[in-house]
Every structure is written in structure tokens, then in C-alpha cells.
């Protein structure tokens, strides 16, 4: 699975990275990422997730070929 992260998440992860995982939904993915970077727990719990530029919820079935964008809370303007 490919990941793209933004803003403050880049303090914890590479901007883009691959992760070998069988996680099939967001919650499972989050657990894997927190194992990698326990300090990112608080930030990750506030993030939205997107696949193909569409936000997804926990019902969304992730595939191994997906690229997942992790979107921290907005701070534009």
C-alpha cells in the first residue's frame, strides 16, 4: 500500500512511502502506522483519509494497490 502524507504528518513520516500490510480499512491502517510511529497517534486520530482524491470512511475496503492520502486538519486562510 502506498501512502502520501501532508503538513505536520511529515514530521513523523516520509512524504510518500510504501507499507506492506493486509489492513483492509482505515482503522487497521491507523494501528499499523501508530506501531511505526507511536508519537503520531494524536495527529492521526484527527486526520481524514482519501483514495483517488476522494475522502473515504471506515467502511471503505482498502486494496493493496491503493494510494492513501492522509489529510491533517485544515489550517488554510
Amino acid at each position: 500500500m502506498k501512502f502520501e502524507v501532508f503538513a505536520i504528518l511529515k514530521d513523523y513520516f516520509q512524504p510518500e512511502f510504501d507499507l506492506q500490510t493486509t489492513a483492509a480499512n482505515i482503522e487497521a491502517v491507523k494501528q499499523e502506522l501508530v506501531k511505526l510511529q507511536p508519537a503520531a497517534l494524536d495527529v492521526l486520530s484527527t486526520c481524514r483519509f482519501a483514495v483517488n482524491d476522494e475522502f473515504i470512511d471506515n467502511e471503505f475496503q482498502l486494496k493493496e494497490s491503493d494510494t492513501i492520502c492522509i489529510i491533517p486538519p485544515s489550517s488554510g486562510g
Partner: protein, 155 residues
Amino acid sequence: MIPSASFPPAAEDNTIFISAEPLDIVGLLSKAHHPGAGAVVLFSGEVRNDNNNKQVAFLEYEAQAAIASRMINDILQEASNKWELNIAIAQHRIGKVNICESAVLVITASPHRKEAYDANRFIIDKIKHEVPIWKREYFTDGTNKWGGNCNCNAI
């Protein structure tokens, strides 16, 4: 202008929502006059030299440009459905933005002024709270910090 610096590329669609170039306030405002509009309201969100008593040197903005552009477009559409607008324009800058420069611009035009003000505020509030754009504050003391719009969003 470098086409790839803005999204969507100008060739595909001439409406730019996310811009790596300084926002062309004058050019955009000049497009906002409409014979049916009695009121034009422009909001420019600009970089202040001070945040919570720390001296700001400049800001840097980052966006997930594809989602951000689509969401800004959707927000403008939503505002146009909610109010009678002749014109609704919004653009957010990315990259380094200096003090006094505009980071985000919203222009609304409507027959009467109440709608133009209300729609303008609705659009900027939604952009700030929902659209995937992030600010990093660089202070004059050499430190920097990923920003939140308010204390409640501070991580």
C-alpha cells in the same frame, strides 16, 4: 506563469483555485463587475507580522491540490445555490507568502449587499475549516510551526 505550478492546469480549465503565484487581486476584482450586481464584496486573507505575540517572518502553505481545488469549486457552487450570486471567485495561494501578501481571496457579487457579505463569509469559513490546505509559520527567531486557525485545532 508556470502552468504546472497551479492547479488545475490552465490548459484544462481556466479557473484556478490553488495558485503558486501571487494572487492577482486586481485582475480577479476586475472580473467581478456584473450589470446585475449591486454589491461586490472582496475578502483578502493576508499574512500578519504577529501571531500570539510571536513575530512572524513569513508563511508557507501546502495543499492537496486536487482535493482542495475540487472542494473550493464545490463550496462556490454551494454558496451560489444558497444565495443569489452573480459572481463567486476564490483562490488560495501555496508556497511562501510574505507579510502583507494575500494568502486567500474570496470575491462575491450579488444584486443586494446582504447576500454578497453572507456568501463571502460562508465561503472563507468553509475554505479555512474544510479544505486540505496547511500553513507553516516561520518566525523571526528562526523557529517554525505547523499552524492551526485557532487554539482548539492546535495539536
